[in-house]
């Protein structure tokens, strides 16, 4: 019963790793609150959330095994 978390760019710098697993949390909002408690610097950083590679703009239900990615503003090209 876990979630896989992926981080990129400056978010990886803040969290100190780019992929890790955490115990299952019911929805994205609670997940983000948990992470922000552990890494308060996230409050000062812009990012969006993708669940299983799809960007979500509102709180959504999570299922065990979901891959949740924290994506800072893109700067490719």
């Amino acid at each position: 019963m876990e979630l896989e978390i992926l981080t990129f760019g400056q978010i990886s710098d803040i969290i100190g790793k780019s992929t890790f697993k955490i115990s299952y949390i019911n929805n994205t909002q609670d997940l983000i609150e948990n992470l922000t408690n552990e890494f308060p610097e996230l409050k000062n950083t812009r990012y969006i959330v993708a669940v299983n590679k799809h960007i979500v703009h509102q709180n959504i239900q999570l299922n065990p095994g979901d891959v949740v990615a924290l994506l800072p503003p893109f700067s490719g090209g």
Binding site: L6, P72, F74, S75, G76, G77
Partner: protein, 148 residues
């Protein structure tokens, strides 16, 4: 995704002029083509807080990016009358003066190739989950600001 023919977009390191030339050459057998439009992104030596950028190191959420490139590709083909389309983006280290993005569209008449190329570049900049770490000549870095 099983039915989708996903073309490889990411390449390791810079995109060479020779690679671009080979890409162009391959189209000489497609004799219905009348126009090619090419966009190249090159790494600038921007100066930020008195430090000069020496390179950009690109990382990506590759799985998600490949789906996004596929979607952009399909939508460009549906919006414009194109004969061919190719997208290449660097991952890893690309130094100033080197090329990190290569978008190549071909069509019978010029308008489609030109408009599609611009459309694809804009969507990549806005929607592809790719990040550039600007590395200064003193080895410090900052995360590149989006250019959307």
């Amino acid at each position: 995704m099983s039915e989708k023919k996903v073309k490889k977009v990411f390449v390791d390191g810079p995109i060479s002029a020779q690679f671009i030339a080979d890409s162009i050459s391959k189209h000489s057998t497609k004799k219905e083509i009348g126009a090619h439009s090419i966009f190249l992104g090159q790494i600038r030596n921007d100066v930020i807080d008195n430090k000069e950028v020496a390179a950009i190191e690109y990382t990506s959420y590759e799985e998600m990016a490949n789906e996004k490139f596929y979607e952009i590709r399909e939508e460009a083909f549906s919006l414009y009358s194109l004969t061919c389309m190719h997208i290449y983006h660097s991952l890893g280290l690309v130094k100033t003066g080197e090329i990190s993005l290569f978008v190549f569209t071909s069509s019978v008449h010029r308008d489609d190739a030109i408009k599609a190329c611009e459309y694809i570049v804009n969507r990549i900049k806005k929607e592809a989950p790719v990040w550039g770490k600007e590395i200064f000549d003193n080895n410090e870095y900052i995360w590149k600001k989006s250019e959307v």
